[in-house]
Symmetry: C2
Subunit: 233 residues, 2 copies
DNA sequence: ACACTCAAAATTGTATACAAATTCGCATAC
DNA sequence: GTATGCGAATTTGTATACAATTTTGAGTGT
């Protein structure tokens, strides 16, 4: 049995499955069964079942009684809903961060920005390095929410960011927009470090709005939404 | 084995436990064990475990590995966090409802208001009837979010409302504020029926702010917060 | 009277056995 | 060739047995 670093197998399985889904290694629409996962992770069905329950609660998989589970597929409606909420949550979390950030917090955010810049400056970088920059960019929002101090808000935002991360890792979109994303992230962190609550919040909201429009615009470019979204059956 | 009306025992147990907790029949701080619940509901531990998992995910119970579960206790921090989020979510949901409500939706809201008025007009009403009015008043917000059409937002708001409902059912506070609550609810529904998006949203946010101040003020009236909140150990 | 030790009890974590339901494929009839 | 029906295989739902850990409490020594 796998003993990664968590206390219980349930948590290990949950984290493993979540990572597999968010990174697109198990794509949206893919069917996942308890037995397969149990065999793959070398554990019994029990912890796998409990992990599936939590994943379903987080909206990463959908399951119908006695019919198995399927990795949640993307659709336009879900994106509009998620980004509408994320604009509020991310904006508020960033306001709180601007109000509460300590010197150490600010240094941490600066470090993450520097890491993004470093990864961006690598010539002819690999896909792995591109993924790393995406990861750090999304983690930046998680850390900002953590700094904000509202744990409930932090948890909710992380749930939505999981879905966003699943999307960018699966589709690897807006490759030409990374420069803009870095600039917006820098602007948000600048406002937080300056303690400008209103500016930080508004920049965060504008950033989320921009991401939403960017994604929706790219989706529009696809001629057939159904064909684009349906990854499997 | 109990076969209420759900397909699976897990769902039945989850709903039963959730109801017991939200209505204060199992008070905050109370210890809950899998065996007790399994015996109480006449099922095995397996569906009870899965229900506990979901309850923990929803923040209604907290559990530590191999130490059992405890019904989540109230504290000031949690209230500030929850109401800060609820103000955003409820405000947005109400805006969406004002934009999307059909004639049938509006009639449904009116009916709920009328039910509140009917229950309020009963002279020397029983505790049961008071609870009913509280229930309908909180359900009003759930229905408004449902009408808004953003399912994700609806689900998130329901989670927070569960905690609010647990609180009022457990403590039965602000008995003298019910008249004000009814007036605010009426104002919100009026704005929704008029299709005034901005007004509906602002009234909803003001209503949540008022509820928060009301609760915090009552908490201040208690001399010892710790003694007030700690219901059991 | 107090502190310490150790064993027993209680409780959750995991594995496995069995039941119920759904799905899929093959055979058969038309 | 197509449709239909039935049965095997697959998959989840539930129950139970066992393992691991924590808690509890009695007993003992000082």
């Amino acid at each position: 049995m796998i003993k990664e670093r968590k206390n219980t197998l349930r948590d290990s399985v949950f984290e493993s499955l979540k990572a597999l889904i968010i990174t697109g290694q198990i794509p949206p629409g893919a069917r996942v069964t308890e037995n397969d996962m149990a065999a793959r992770l070398n554990v019994s069905r029990t912890p796998v079942r409990e992990a599936f329950n939590r994943l379903e609660r987080d909206g990463l998989v959908v399951g119908r009684p006695r019919q198995g589970y399927v990795v949640t597929e993307f659709n336009l409606t879900m994106f509009r809903e998620a980004f509408d909420i994320r604009e509020m949550l991310d904006g508020r979390a960033t306001e709180l961060a601007a109000a509460n950030a300590t010197a150490a917090d600010k240094a941490r955010l600066r470090d993450m920005l520097a890491e993004c810049e470093r990864l961006a400056a690598i010539p002819d970088r690999s896909t792995r390095e591109q993924f790393e920059e995406l990861q750090v960019g999304i983690d930046l929002h998680r850390v900002i929410a953590e700094i904000g101090g509202n744990e409930m808000l932090h948890g909710m935002l992380c749930g939505i960011l999981d879905k966003c991360q699943q999307y960018v890792w699966t589709e690897l979109l807006w490759l030409d927009e990374w420069q803009l994303t870095r600039e917006e992230h820098t602007g948000i962190v600048d406002a937080i470090c300056a303690g400008d609550v209103a500016l930080a919040g508004e920049r965060a909201r504008a950033h989320v709005r921009g991401s939403r429009e960017n994604i929706l615009r790219l989706l529009q470019a696809k001629s057939d939404y159904q064909g684009f979204f349906a990854k499997a059956s």
